[in-house]
Subunit: 369 residues, 2 copies
Amino acid sequence: MSMDITFLGSGSAYPSPHRGASALVLRTEGENWLFDCGEGTQTQFMRSQLKSSKINKVFISHLHGDHVFGLPGLLCTISLNLNPQPDQPASCVDIYGPRGLRLFLRVALTLSSSQLLFPYAVHELETSDDQCPEEGRLSAALTTSGDALHPQERPGRTIQLDPDTDCYNLIDDKQFVVKAFRLYHRVSSFGFSVDEKERPGRLNTDQLKALGLRPGPLYGRLKNGESVTLENGRVLTAGEVLEAPLKGRKVCVFGDCSAPLGEGFKRACQGADVLVHEATLEDGQRDKAVEHGHSTPGMAAGVALACGARTLVLHHFSQRYKPEALRRDGEDDVTELRCQAEHVLQGSGTQVVLAEDFLRLPIALKKNL
Amino acid sequence: MSMDITFLGSGSAYPSPHRGASALVLRTEGENWLFDCGEGTQTQFMRSQLKSSKINKVFISHLHGDHVFGLPGLLCTISLNLNPQPDQPASCVDIYGPRGLRLFLRVALTLSSSQLLFPYAVHELETSDDQCPEEGRLSAALTTSGDALHPQERPGRTIQLDPDTDCYNLIDDKQFVVKAFRLYHRVSSFGFSVDEKERPGRLNTDQLKALGLRPGPLYGRLKNGESVTLENGRVLTAGEVLEAPLKGRKVCVFGDCSAPLGEGFKRACQGADVLVHEATLEDGQRDKAVEHGHSTPGMAAGVALACGARTLVLHHFSQRYKPEALRRDGEDDVTELRCQAEHVLQGSGTQVVLAEDFLRLPIALKKNL
Ligand SMILES: [Zn+2]
Ligand SMILES: [Zn+2]
Ligand SMILES: [Zn+2]
Ligand SMILES: [Zn+2]
């Protein structure tokens, strides 16, 4: 039930020895989801406590190189380090991202003659013209090629915007609902919201023991919500011994943007436990940030406020903001960026965290409903 | 007149924190040539004393990811850090490599909406079917797309094998002759030879001063091979005061291979001052190396012997061979690889060097002819 985020790259534009290019991993119970994959992400994995071979889903916010150029190499290296089980075929890695991602990956893997020991599928989000200026749009001709898939590629979905919610519905399974929403940037960019579903409460084992019930199959039936008949004939309902259900957690990861687009982000991110947002430049350079399709801490804080997020994590810092520990006198101070966000969030109860490479942020279980 | 090689990545298969993926820079008098560009090369530049913005030519030995996945990002970052001179258009970066490289770069730069502040051209070497097993060949359909170039792309040449020399003629200018030759690997792979042209010898300034000639325009004319008439009427020919011409240096960089293919390498590399060759695995794993299209130190030494090379530099080590300084007890010892090559080269006078990331290898001027 533990959940955490590990930042593998907190820098913008390109990877540097001080800050990797964008990449973060959300982990929970066997799920290892990678959000963005700038060049060098595979090496950042090696420097971290995480294993790239565990990645089972990938989400790419947009196709700028600092968010995607590491993906072909990461998949190749995961494959190299896999120990294939002959009796258990490798499961498919699902990759979500903007239209064009499928061709990018297919061409890179095909021309490099890369064979993978697992299948993959790219599920493309359809972009809309208002997500970026005209020069950032990719014509359909540029993002499609013939029907020939890479040998390990499985057909992926094309996901349209749901006009009712202004969101894209990516995943809805037993544990999670994952949506995407539109952002405005120099190229079409997306944010992602991960909603953990409510889970049944814990069994009150003290109470069960007092009733003379020892751990065993009956516990499992109660946990599943069934009633059981005790030896003395008493019918024990699950509700009597189950604690209240646990509310799911919500994590939202925004791609590069100078603003959200439409109302999707508010629906998808309302009450987020953690909202990860870029803050490329400081508030004093807001005009320059917006011109380049980026945000400042104050702008990111505004988004967090609109969503009622509990924690705002800033990342994607210009490489001029060195990590605090490496900063020398006279150099730009990244902690100023936290202050600028906190200023906007004063009184809201929203906490601000600055990402650094390899920062691990645990996301606590929510209190019972 | 100084010339050196700097290794930016000495590891095989993928970049690790201990060894970057393949990349080396040959520098001489304003020329900065990059050979191969694995993922993370731009970050290795930042860790080195070199400036990636000075790169004016790129040579890619083959399209495996550990040799080419860093190229799109490197070009983007060079562009980001350029200070364009309005009155001086940026010069074209010439990129040489196997058929398929042009499409790889075009798709990566186009789908990432990357605009460069300089033009580039990809000159493709035609591959031959016997350079690799059938599964490594790229059909013409896979390596071509429409005629639409990337906005900063200039048309590149397609370079055919010269059947007389079994070489490809890449460059023949005032200073250098550059050829490529064929190698056998899992995919079509090439080596490159750089021949510095002979240069006029130095002026014997002691002798000139004894003749009463002070530094000035006359020196330049003599240096250019002209005769000059002294004040006393004596005609002084250049030959009297010029030292013998300086023989050019020769540097050869092999791509991944289990063997050279044909006779091209012998012609191109005969008498190399420095021959850079891969040695992925130790001699005891020769069968495994060959199966994967790679070489051992003994095999590399055989190539160096056949070419009469003065210095053999081994690189592209399996990531299991840590740099000497980081090796712990019981781990594979990279210095064994040097011994294995030296064993084959005993008595030949050929020196063996192990590359490490950031090793700078000066290449001394040759003695007069
Ligand atoms: Zn970015
Ligand atoms: Zn971006
Ligand atoms: Zn290689
Ligand atoms: Zn290779």
